[in-house]
């Protein structure tokens, strides 16, 4: 009996204490993360992105929005960049409208990742008071001021400066053609139609297309060339070496690319970044490459029809009298020059240091008689040095007018290597030209620009054999 009472007492004590001993470590409510529409105060001012850019253009140097006596100054826009794939880092690109935008701007924020708060299509309000505007890397950007430079908005301040609105818009890419690129289209989400990656990047010596940015030479960004099928115009396509898709291969077909138009780091040229490979829609497997000479059948080396190893000349001027055409057609003076290394003579061309932009130079061989032989093969050696873009093309014709610009050329499928930041080795090209008759001329066209694509090429050992 007594024991029972004690047990009852014990039980009650334990029950009482247990009730008071709940520990909160599970069954948590989901936090309220819904977003309310931004409501502005009566004295708040909303600026268009275009107005901010215009103000910068008017001032021409970094400036800071000071506080208003009452209310705040805001800029609104729709997020069109995404760092989900790692191709953008600590920046948001916003544009003024979801469709047919007219202005875009970059917001620098010291926060990573951003896509988990400001997703693609999200409308945001940027409180400008205390922020600064400047041109960085060629485009107008908003951030905080560090001396005369623009810096990222510090993470602790981002919540007060970047405010999410409840609207998430469907962003309609702005159709633009490469030839229409202009300053007012910078930082917009654009669509390029009927484009492909350049042939040289798809059909490489590696036996595979180049990757987006995974090649050993890619530093910071992998820069590739997108080419318009309509007019052959090209634009650089950039991918960060920190992107998650950097080691994927460039797709071979053609189609549309949706991305953000901006300038490269040094503000030298336009370039396009995508948010993810999903924004490349190459559903057409057929490329629009120019036709190249395509002869089939056997080739022979038993008879040398033409050979020039440049060992007999000491100056390129000597070539002029030997039936060669070596001219600058872009108004400058730089042309192919004789050069030598370790006792080997060759021709060299580079736009580096020439002050010529563009620099277009042609080298055309003397006429080569193909009527007395069959099974002809053309070979030559090219080395690529200080690579900044592939800008040499080889052609052939059997109807040379004497002026490379009026001649109808057939492109050759030449092995023009992609070099690196130093000197490269000679790489040989062997091209079947047995289907050509008459007098043929082989040509090399160099199209570069000082400070831009200014790759230096060496050309040597041009030879035609047959039987």
């Amino acid at each position: 009996m007594k024991t029972n009472k004690i047990f009852q007492l014990t039980f009650l004590l334990i029950a009482f204490l247990s009730i008071n001993s709940c520990v909160e470590n599970n069954d948590f409510d989901t936090p309220n993360i819904s977003v309310d529409p931004v409501v502005l105060g009566p004295n708040d001012v909303v600026l268009d992105i275009g107005a901010v850019i215009a103000e910068y253009n008017q001032r021409g140097e970094i400036f800071t929005y000071e506080s208003l006596p009452q209310g705040n100054r805001y800029m609104t826009g729709y997020v069109v960049s995404s760092d989900e794939g790692g191709n953008f880092f600590e920046e948001l690109v916003i544009q003024d409208k979801s469709e047919n935008p007219s202005a875009g701007i970059v917001i620098q924020v010291d926060v990573s990742p951003l896509f988990t708060s400001y997703e693609f299509g999200r409308k945001i309000y940027v409180k400008l008071d205390g922020l600064s505007v400047n041109v960085s890397n060629g485009v107008v950007q908003v951030g905080v001021r560090n001396g005369d430079n623009l810096a990222k908005i510090p993470a602790p301040l981002r919540a007060q400066h970047i405010i999410r609105d409840s609207e998430i818009a469907e962003i309609i890419p702005l159709p633009v053609s490469i030839s229409d690129f202009s300053e007012d289209k910078e930082n917009l989400y654009i669509r390029l139609t009927d484009v492909q990656f350049s042939k040289a990047e798809i059909f490489t010596d590696l036996g595979r297309p180049l990757t987006y940015a995974g090649e050993a030479l890619d530093q910071f960004d992998g820069e590739r060339t997108l080419q318009s099928c309509a007019d052959n115009s090209t634009v650089t396509f950039s991918t960060s070496t920190f992107s998650d898709f950097k080691s994927l291969l460039l797709p071979a077909g053609k189609g549309t690319v949706d991305g953000i138009l901006t300038r490269d780091f040094f503000d030298d040229f336009y370039t396009v970044y995508v948010n993810s490979p999903e924004d490349i829609n190459f559903d057409d497997e057929n490329r629009c490459d120019p036709d190249v000479l395509d002869c089939t059948g056997p080739v022979s080396t038993s008879v040398v029809v033409f050979e020039e190893d440049f060992e007999s000349i000491t100056n390129e001027g000597q070539l002029d009298g030997m039936g060669w055409t070596n001219i600058n057609v872009s108004g400058g003076s730089e042309r192919y020059e004789r050069n030598s290394f370790s006792g080997d003579s060759y021709l060299k061309i580079s736009a580096f240091g020439t002050n010529e932009d563009p620099l277009e130079a042609w080298l055309v061989t003397p006429g080569i008689d193909m009527d007395n032989t069959t099974q002809e093969e053309l070979s030559f050696n090219i080395s690529t040095n200080f690579e900044t873009g592939k800008i040499l093309t080889a052609y052939i014709t059997n109807n040379y007018t004497g002026d490379p610009l009026t001649t109808t050329w057939t492109e050759l499928d030449a092995n023009i290597p992609i070099g690196d930041s130093g000197f490269g080795d000679f790489v040989s090209s062997k091209i079947n030209i047995s289907c050509l008759d008459g007098t043929v001329h082989v040509a090399f066209k160099y199209l570069g620009a000082d400070g831009g694509a200014e790759t230096r090429y060496h050309i040597d050992d041009i030879k035609v054999t047959g039987m």
């Binding site: 014990t10 470590n25 998650d244 080691s247």
Partner: protein, 962 residues
């Protein structure tokens, strides 16, 4: 209370010669009240005689032959006293003998409670006080358990993997790391009073043991005195409250006995912020005494324990947020939520058979089965989605940064780590500082927001809660034989088998509102050699047999494997006791096998490299020990113990990275332990003292660390083998009963624990396949560095006042010094001096899959490398000494049949701030980086991380027994 060591003599002796022939007599009085004590058992074991005192407390034993005897005087709830006598044709009157209330009746409770309260069991930093709980009457061990433990003091510098914990003779140390998992039986304090502790490597009836001692907890229904106990505790250390109730039947007439206990420990926050505590324990024991020879006992031990974890912090974080700061928690919808929790639930069932084969011989056979799991949760921030390139190739985009609020780029030091600091840097640092001070907690909203955005776009989770699960199923069987073959010789032997069947895996436990998580390795990356080969699709897979799986809550992901471990051992021991000398000798032999069985085929380690069974590892181990006690007189004893044995590496140190592959550690060896100690023990009525010198030597140890390092830019496993180290020093404990109520005590521990060689070290990573990366000589120059093992020096002065009116109070002042941080082995390897910028690491650190592939990086010393500067950079940090005062007191009442009492402790009453330990980070350990880090005016970005001791805390316990 059974004791095998430390016979405590506390008596007043008047030796009066009488003319009666060969008798012993005396009067037993209560030491506090001086009232005579009746029914005190007075026995002479060697003569097989036992009498009880009468109502006047008197006893007399006649008819003894000449000889030397040990008189044992015992009464329940009083301290046992032993008194050696020599009779040579005369009688001895021992006069008045005072028996003292068994202080441990109260003290044990507090000791165990404190231990239970503070045994955090955070990997590798558990104090080794477990085994000391029951030796609390040894003044040194008592100090170590009570007062030193809060500073990570480890007796003799030993990790608790160097001690054994047994329950009813069955070893409970975990196969994975060799350490006892105290949470498995936490909260059962009231029914764990029966413990037999053998300090050091001394003789033990059950097992060979180890050099930090063996603690056998006896949990048998028949061994609990009849009664009911209820207690309530309040504290602010790890839990806030504890309720416990137990009842035991004693042995009934029909031979049945039973005992059970239920307890709950709870708290929303311990001393450190956000560390909740949620533990429920249950114990039931039933025993049947079949006849005089046979008894069978069955136990169920169920202790479930879930806790919020804290994190070691840097000096900078401490400066900004204080020692109670914990980056792991944040508010979620108004409630504190900890992002890193530990959940332990590993019930034990056991059956014990006790067989008294004869009066002198016993055989005890035990079977125990333990099952359940340990889960450690953390945030997985690598959520991605699959995107397809127009050419059909796939990649994974997404992922987020480590969301911890103390991420290095959130702290002021990061903004001040640049060259040519200007106003802008300071402004950013200030903003970061204010942000961290005001909002430096985990941001759950950001986690949910990210997943909600992702989900609304039809994508996968970015964040998820990952629980690393260890599901152990362990069967233990052993049989323990003991026989007193003569009066002087006792023989022990045992056979043991332990089989562990483990499954380890990550389980996704919370999607934070998302619908699924893509199970690929976000960090997988192709290198320049494999670029474009589409390898990424494969190497990112946690299981190439089920690629690109979307997992949801409750699914296993990331890694999944089994481990089998089997340990069989045999032990034999002979103990000899003679008048002047006791000695023992024991031997042990064991076979250990380990095997991994991969259930996922990891993309980096295809085929049998990760899938299916690994090589089977086998270790044959043996041990020998011997010891001697020489009794100069009853008051002066000298004791020696020595041991030489080998220990199989732990399961956790045998595989390079069990989560990813089947590879075993190169040159894996058993560790050899050599140990020697010698003690002088003094026992006078006034003063009790023990002085011990010890020397322990370890060779061929193994250790594995995991971390991300910028040296080579990879997440690596650091595998250190052939570690030699040495612990030596002395212990002194002395206490003086200056008056019947006042006791003074002094304790000193002085030791040195250092590495004695430069061990081998190599690194593995999925970035380099199965290749092993070494730097230079392949050594880490650890020789003469201190092993981080708590303060090497600890001193205590204390007193205890025990009032006859059943209250007591004590205080101790404790000084700790010479504690060292754990050094980075990578920083002491040749990697420190190599200028990796001069080396094409991109090309050298390529995956290769040869059986013995090794990548060695050497030469290329920094051209500005300065030996003197380097020496400064490599100096091991010694933590500041600390001075801590603790107070303890209690009172008890007897109300009829009820005992009511309380005791309370206040630790660190002066609220001293002190570090208990720390470690170097291996993230930026190159010479130039270290020059930068250590010369940073505003502190390093990757500075040492520290564990801080608690400020002033209390513990209060109320108990009722009847």
């Amino acid at each position: 209370m059974k004791k095998t060591l430390g016979i405590i003599l506390m008596f007043t002796l008047f030796q009066i010669h009488s003319f009666a022939q060969n008798s012993v007599s005396g009067i037993i009085l209560d030491g506090d009240t001086e009232e005579p004590l009746f029914e005190v058992v007075v026995g002479i074991k060697d003569a097989n005689i036992s009498v009880t005192t009468d109502k006047l407390g008197a006893f007399r034993i006649d008819g003894l032959a000449d000889g030397v005897y040990l008189v044992k005087i015992s009464k329940k709830r009083y301290e046992v006293q032993n008194y050696p006598i020599e009779i040579t044709g005369s009688s001895i009157n021992l006069g008045k003998i005072y028996l003292y209330k068994d202080a441990s009746t109260e003290q044990d409770l507090s000791v165990i409670t404190i231990a239970d309260d503070e045994l955090n069991a955070d990997d590798g930093f558990t104090d080794n006080i477990a085994g000391l709980l029951q030796s609390s009457r040894d003044v040194f061990n008592s100090a170590a358990a009570f007062d030193f433990s809060a500073t990570f003091f480890r007796p003799r510098g030993l990790d608790n993997a160097n001690g054994k914990v047994l329950i009813n003779g069955i070893e409970m140390n975990k196969t994975f790391n060799g350490r006892p998992q105290w949470a498995n039986w936490g909260g059962l304090n009231d029914l764990q009073r029966n413990q037999v502790f053998s300090p050091g490597i001394s003789a033990n009836d059950y097992t060979f043991g180890d050099i930090a001692g063996t603690n056998n907890i006896i949990m048998r229904a028949s061994q609990y005195g009849k009664g009911t106990r209820i207690s309530f505790a309040s504290a602010n250390r790890s839990y806030n409250g504890r309720v416990m109730a137990s009842h035991s039947s004693g042995i009934g007439k029909n031979g049945w006995s039973y005992a059970f206990l239920a307890s709950r420990r709870f708290g929303n926050e311990g001393y450190v912020d956000g560390t909740f505590y949620d533990a429920n324990s249950f114990f039931a024991s039933i025993e049947k005494k079949i006849n005089e020879k046979h008894s069978i006992n069955a136990n169920l031990i169920y202790a479930q324990n879930k806790r919020g974890r804290s994190a070691p912090i840097t000096e900078e974080i401490f400066r900004l947020k204080g020692r109670q700061y914990n980056p792991n928690w944040g508010y979620q919808a108004g409630k504190m939520r900890n992002s890193r929790t530990r959940d332990i639930e590993e019930p034990i069932v056991m059956l014990n058979h006790y067989w008294n084969i004869s009066e002198k011989t016993t055989l005890n056979t035990n079977v125990s089965y333990q099952f359940g799991s340990i889960g450690n949760s953390r945030i997985d921030n690598g959520g991605t989605r699959l995107v397809t390139n127009p050419n059909g190739q796939q990649s994974y985009i997404g992922g987020a940064r480590n969301p911890t609020p103390e991420y290095y780029q959130n702290l002021p030091s990061y903004f001040l780590s640049f060259y040519n600091l200007n106003a802008f840097n300071f402004q950013n640092a200030f903003l970061a500082e204010q942000e961290f001070i005001n909002n430096g907690q985990f941001d759950w909203d950001a986690i949910y927001l990210a997943n909600s955005i992702s989900t609304s776009q039809g994508h996968n989770a970015i964040y998820a809660m990952q629980e690393d699960r260890i599901d152990d199923n362990q069967l233990s069987v052993n049989t323990i034989f003991a026989s007193d073959i003569t009066q002087n010789i006792r023989l022990n032997a045992s056979l043991n088998y332990r089989g562990l069947r483990n499954q380890s895996y990550a389980e996704l436990t919370d999607l934070f509102g998302a619908t699924g998580f893509l199970d690929v390795d976000f960090f997988a990356e192709e290198n320049s050699n494999t670029v474009g080969s589409q390898l990424l699709n494969t190497i990112a897979q946690s299981d190439v047999r089920n690629p690109n799986r979307i997992v949801t809550e409750g699914d296993r992901y990331k890694y999944n494997y089994k481990m089998n471990a089997d340990v069989a051992s045999a032990f034999a021991q002979a103990q000899f006791s003679y008048t002047k000398v006791d000695f023992y000798v024991a031997g042990n032999y064991g076979i250990t096998t380990y095997q991994r069985d991969g259930l996922f085929e990891n993309g980096n380690y295809q085929g049998n490299l990760s899938y299916g069974k690994s090589e089977k590892l086998e270790f044959d181990n043996f041990g020998l020990k011997a010891g001697l006690t020489y009794k100069i007189s009853g008051q002066h004893l000298i004791n020696f113990n020595s041991a030489y044995f080998t220990k199989a590496p732990t399961l956790g140190n045998s595989f390079e990275n069990a989560r990813q592959n089947n590879r075993t550690v190169r040159n894996l060896q058993s560790e050899t332990v050599r140990s020697l100690d010698a003690s002088y023990i003094l026992r006078t009525p006034m003063v009790k003292a023990r002085l011990t010198g010890y020397y322990s030597d370890f060779s061929d140890g193994t250790d594995i660390n995991f971390f991300f390092t910028e040296v080579g830019g990879a997440f690596v496993q650091e595998i250190i083998t052939g570690i030699d180290r040495r612990n030596f020093g002395g212990e002194l404990g002395i206490e003086a009963q200056v008056t019947p109520t006042i006791k003074l005590k002094g304790v000193a521990a002085v030791g040195q624990n250092t590495f004695t060689n430069n061990p081998d070290v190599y690194y593995t990573s999925d970035d380099f396949g199965t290749a092993r990366l070494t730097y230079g000589s392949g050594k880490t120059n650890l020789k003469n560095y201190h092993v981080s093992s708590g303060p090497e020096r600890a001193f205590q002065l204390g007193f205890e006042y025990r009032d006859p009116d059943f209250w007591w109070i004590g205080a101790t002042a404790n000084h700790f010094s010479r504690a060292f941080v754990d050094v980075s082995a990578l920083k002491r390897s040749d990697a420190f001096a190599i200028d990796l910028d001069l080396i094409d690491t991109q090309n050298i650190l390529q995956p290769s899959y040869g059986e013995n592939d090794e990548i060695n990086i050497s030469g290329n010393t920094f051209n500005d490398y300065d030996e003197n500067v380097a020496r400064g950079l490599l100096r091991q940090e010694q933590l500041n000494s600390s001075f801590i005062v603790n107070v303890i007191g209690g009172k008890s009442w007897k109300l009829g049949d009820y005992y009511l009492g309380f005791f309370a402790t206040i630790n660190n009453i002066f609220n001293v701030t002190y570090k208990t330990g720390g470690f170097e980070q291996s993230r930026r350990v190159g010479y130039r980086d270290q020059v930068d880090e250590q010369s940073q005016q505003y502190g390093p970005v990757f500075g040492n991380r520290y564990f801080f001791g608690n400020g002033t805390t209390y513990f209060l316990n109320l108990y009722l027994r009847f």
